[in-house]
Subunit: 89 residues, 2 copies
């Protein structure tokens, strides 16, 4: 079975986000004065093949150990079942 | 009214993703041989205040003109209503 995994990696709320601040300043200077709290993170998509329980555990392991710096970042993970053809294999 | 906007910016399917390829190679060398099709994009969150229709149009304008390079990237946008306190203003 094939699975599509979507991982959103974002800086922890307590960590300053200079890139987000820069985007926010740009938005204000472009006339979007009603914007605030801009945070920039990563969005990673990948395909995994295998049984659901194993793939779920593996996806969390990948997110935790490869995609996220746990000192400053949090992640959020979603798993979608795909057909063999949609997964492109 | 306050709104939380989540924008996912990803490279178009037809565009090569060297960062994704690098992550994929790392995953394979770490024993995740069942992984494929890794794509790395951006996840941007921001708050906007205003009426729904106006904010929706504004969010798309920001995504299109500020957050995305339309030549090589696509975006996907979601709008959530938040209470005044949750929006932190």
């Amino acid at each position: 079975m094939n699975w599509r995994v979507e991982v959103v990696v974002s800086l922890k709320k307590s960590i300053l986000d200079p890139q987000g601040r820069t985007v926010e300043r740009s938005l204000h200077s472009l006339g979007h004065g009603n914007s605030s709290a801009v945070r920039v993170g990563k969005h990673i998509e990948l395909e995994l093949s295998g049984e659901q329980a194993a793939v779920e555990a593996q996806a969390h392991q990948i997110a935790r150990e490869v995609l996220t710096n746990p000192v400053v970042e949090d992640y959020h993970l979603t798993l979608f079942a795909t057909t063999g053809s949609e997964a492109g294999r």
